[in-house]
Amino acid sequence: MSVLIYIDQAEGQIKKSSFEAASYGAKLAEQTGTTAEALVLGNVSDDLSALGKYGIKKVHHVADAQLDHLDAQLFIKVIAEAAAASQADIIVLSANVNGKAIAPGLSARLKSGLVAGAVALPDTSNGFVVKKGVFSGKAFANIRINSPIKIISLTPNAFTPVLGEGVAEVAPFTATIEAPKVKVTATNKVKGQIPLSEAELVISGGRGLKGPENWGMIEELAQLLGAATACSRAVADAHWRPHHEHVGQTGGSIAPNLYFAVGISGAIQHLAGVNRSKTIVVINKDPEAPFFKAADYGIVGDAFEVMPKIIEAVKKLKGK
């Protein structure tokens, strides 16, 4: 028996969300008295034995260039083969963009129950019950998996990796690889920015900022703190900011350590995507703005007066 963790990579580098999945899977192996093994697909430049620090004992690596880009159908077959070879009874992956493409098909292929978007380690005291977010962050559900093999996709930034000393054994894994049917022809990444889904700190702006020309202060604060930027739907709909920054019930759903909202009213649909953030800060000139009810810290004030002072104070703190 083992816990098999699928490690997702892009351009040869392991994603942060996959380190979280590795550590979660290792903890789960400890909890169930088995070992944690990882599966890496495609060519990687990272040192795979370093996954041992996250508690992984063995890394199976399929270094085939056809697996550098995602074709869900193909990845599912390879993961299923590796799961059979390592006699995995639990499979863990991140519920990141690729995890969302792979986990459901893997569940259907193996006829094994999936909890998509877990936020905590399973309760294994009586069966196998996993907690996940439902109703767009407004509630949680504890889901029982009834099949012999269990599949869990872990919400990014919901589990803090525990680092140790280990070194993982890395072994090539030979899988049947068919030609991918989905062919990636282009990848466009916004350079030099932290992806919103992986960010620990997020600075976000709403319609209260009046227009796209006023985003300088959001971007400056984000840059100073190493934070990602986000916005409300109203802002994305007005094309002040790109769609991928839109968070909320019908946009991205995030759970950073800090969500810093400037000039956002905090409509229920907006809160749905951000209310799992560990600390929420709200800057709004309206004391009645609903966002204050969901906030940990706040300033009732004009963003145009408050933000420059905040930026100055952060600069001083960072010695800039």
């Binding site: 989905v182 019908t250 800090l258």
Partner: protein, 247 residues
């Protein structure tokens, strides 16, 4: 060409989230139901746009649910689509729902199957991927653009910090999100027409659920906001640094 669009019924985005029967069921009393926004705004509207470009296209809608889903199915038909199929069973297990959809799709010979990127109630993001695997079709998730030329689909999908463009031959299953299309409001002609469009009810196949909901819980209430004077925003930075230790 035949397109199948998967339609889910979800509580309105402003619905109060509460639970009944010892926290084992969603308290549905007084709740307004809507078409899951991702299914309606992106999957369905993009399918309608493809039909507008090629009028020979046939669009079928599918819902897995009880008779209480009929009003939202009619609303979807008012936006567009030629007929709807409802598989008459209630389930919260994604695999059960996906299996019912796959059974219908297998008979229907669809070249495109569209779903929303997730439902706003169970947030599983699972149905599309499961249906694709059950039908042995390729799956492209979180699509923000979809173009079709002959048999070749060019699909843009979200990745961390950007997007990826991929090509795939149809048939394909696609989960849709913002960017695919713009929300539409049904017009009078659509609403009148929807009344006479076929809504077929089929009985479910026997499928064993792989998961079950044990219990719901609400997040713990927030302790309350700590307000800092607008005259002293530096204090906020100090608190975030020293108390919350965020940076």
């Amino acid at each position: 060409m035949k397109i199948l669009v998967c339609i889910s019924k979800t509580p309105d985005t402003t619905a109060k989230i509460a639970f009944a029967d010892n926290n084992t069921k969603f308290a549905a009393d007084g709740v307004q139901w809507i078409i899951n926004p991702y299914d309606e705004w992106y999957a369905l509207v993009r399918a309608i746009e493809l039909k507008e470009k090629d009028p020979s296209t046939i669009i079928h809608l599918i819902n897995v649910g009880g008779a209480d889903a009929d009003p939202i199915i009619r609303k979807a038909l008012a936006l567009g689509g030629d007929e709807a199929i409802r598989v008459n069973t209630d389930s919260t297990d994604s695999f059960t729902i996906a299996s019912q959809i796959a059974n219908v799709a297998r008979e229907g010979g669809y070249e495109l199957i569209f779903t929303g990127k997730e439902t706003i109630d169970y947030n599983g993001s699972s149905i599309g991927g499961m249906v694709a695997e059950l039908l042995d079709m390729p799956f492209v998730s979180l699509a923000t653009k979809f173009e079709l030329a002959g048999n070749m689909a060019t699909i843009t999908r979200e990745i961390e910090g950007g997007e990826e463009v991929a090509e795939v031959n149809i048939p394909v299953v696609v989960s849709c999100q913002k960017g695919m299309a713009e929300q539409r409001i049904p017009n009078m002609k659509g609403i009148m027409g929807a009344r006479t469009k076929p809504l077929k009810v089929v009985e479910p196949a026997a499928v064993e659920a792989l998961t079950s909901i044990e219990r719901f819980e609400l997040p713990p209430a927030k302790a309350g906001v700590k307000l800092v004077s607008p005259d002293n925003p530096e204090e906020l930075v100090r608190l975030l640094h020293e108390e919350a230790k965020l940076f």
